[in-house]
Subunit: 265 residues, 2 copies
């Protein structure tokens, strides 16, 4: 293994296999971003969320005795993507790998370094519209229940809904107004990328968690581009079929939770 070795052509056989998504059953969660890319790409994949021993499979990988293997470091947490001999984790990382392979991101080395722009947009959506949403119901400790940190959650959620959420929606609205977004409803270069799928899923989750707050923001017409993108992703034929299928998990006690007391009044 060498960090500076020259590009090597892949042996087709090692990668010419289905993807295996390793994620908790029962919630869309962070795994959902990976699913949406796989579905839009029409890729063949298996999903531990649909397996009987799904939880065991996740725990095997995150066990504190797992040191990985000869070519893969262990993952810290799911989602995990297995593809042939490759095993990788971290949502934005998995998305970049899949996006580049399936034409949902520019190739590394492209003239405009677009792969870094798409990565930037995905990282920002995940920070502000997924990770920060998780903290609205777990501001103190991941190991405690929501009920144990309910008062703190109310404060954090109020700040999120009033300050952070409009800030992030405003950011993506500016991206969509900017010249680099190109023509059409997408964030970058006039073509659908995985950053659009990430933003769709984030908005969908926030709609579930804070329906009143999001309705108000939508009615303000300040973020029309963002909601147009949301609708445009929802109407993609493969996404539409997927969302109506049983493969789409229902929201539950994951990142996006609906506690009426945390929503706008």
């Amino acid at each position: 293994m060498s960090v500076t070795s020259p590009s090597a052509k892949r042996t087709k056989t090692a990668k010419d296999v289905s993807y295996n998504l390793i994620y908790w059953p029962g919630v869309p969660g962070r795994g959902e971003h990976v699913r949406l890319v796989l579905e839009e790409a029409g890729a063949s994949y298996t999903d531990t969320a649909a397996a009987e021993n799904g939880v065991d499979e996740v725990l095997k990988h995150t066990a504190d005795t797992n040191t990985g293997d000869a070519s893969n470091p262990p993952p810290f947490a799911p989602p995990i993507l297995k593809h042939g001999d490759l095993l990788i984790s971290q949502v934005p990382n998995i998305l970049q790998y899949l996006g580049v392979r399936h034409g949902l991101a520019p190739k590394p080395g492209d003239e405009n370094d677009g792969v870094y722009h798409v990565n930037q947009l995905a990282l920002t959506a995940l920070d502000g519209l997924s990770n920060e949403v998780h903290d609205t119901h777990h501001p103190i400790a991941m190991g405690l229940t929501y009920e144990d940190q309910k008062e703190e959650s109310k404060k954090r959620a109020k700040d999120y809904v009033e300050s952070r959420l409009p800030k992030f929606l405003g950011y993506f609205e500016r991206v969509l107004k900017g010249e680099a977004s190109g023509e059409g409803p997408w964030l970058y270069g006039g073509l659908l990328t995985y950053a659009d799928l990430v933003l769709f899923q984030c908005i969908d989750g926030v709609k579930f968690a804070f329906p009143k707050a999001l309705a108000k923001l939508e009615e303000s017409h300040k973020y029309n581009g963002v909601f147009k993108l949301y609708d445009a992703v929802k109407e993609r034929p493969k996404i539409k079929e997927y969302l109506a299928s049983e493969r789409r998990q229902k929201y539950a006690d994951g990142i996006y939770r609906h506690y009426p007391e945390l929503d706008s009044e």
Copy 2:
């Protein structure tokens, strides 16, 4: 601009210029990860932290009227890297761009897809040893002061120091024990990558913020690999020179803050 355009050879002139790091003056902060990579690479760069109008320069880029330009979406927040016509933001994104260019990460397309392993490791360190540390003194709202959320901070910091910090150190210790880390003190492939520089800076920041807690963890000898890596980075000739220079910002009211009441007793 095209998402699927074939690789284009870069015009040397456009990229044969210094880097420009755009970040807040006065704290190492998230910009520090970028600085360490530039310093280790021996790259030529300018830094708004050293400029008289540094704050204005940051605010110009993050203004809510900025929609970017023809090829660059606007940044959400600093650090921002400008390189010729390219402008990118998000720490793990900038690090990947620089790491690939300067031999501090495997090239995209390399046989083992190592670029994704290094990205995974950097993302995990930034999540657990930087972003979560920020939340120990701002668990409720970024717009409020520490004093306004001190009681909640005490609870969050207690959980961080007792539960999350050992979990993340334990993870990196496992990575270092794993076969994929190769020989020597580094996280991946037996060679220094930007993930090692990230982990170094995270440990350095945590040492400043929670000196008692970290001393206890170091004395437990459970994380010897992590502390050996920390020392090994510190002794890299260019890093050593940099850390002793005036270019290294002092810790202050940034991500890593030392409030004795948040540290272990």
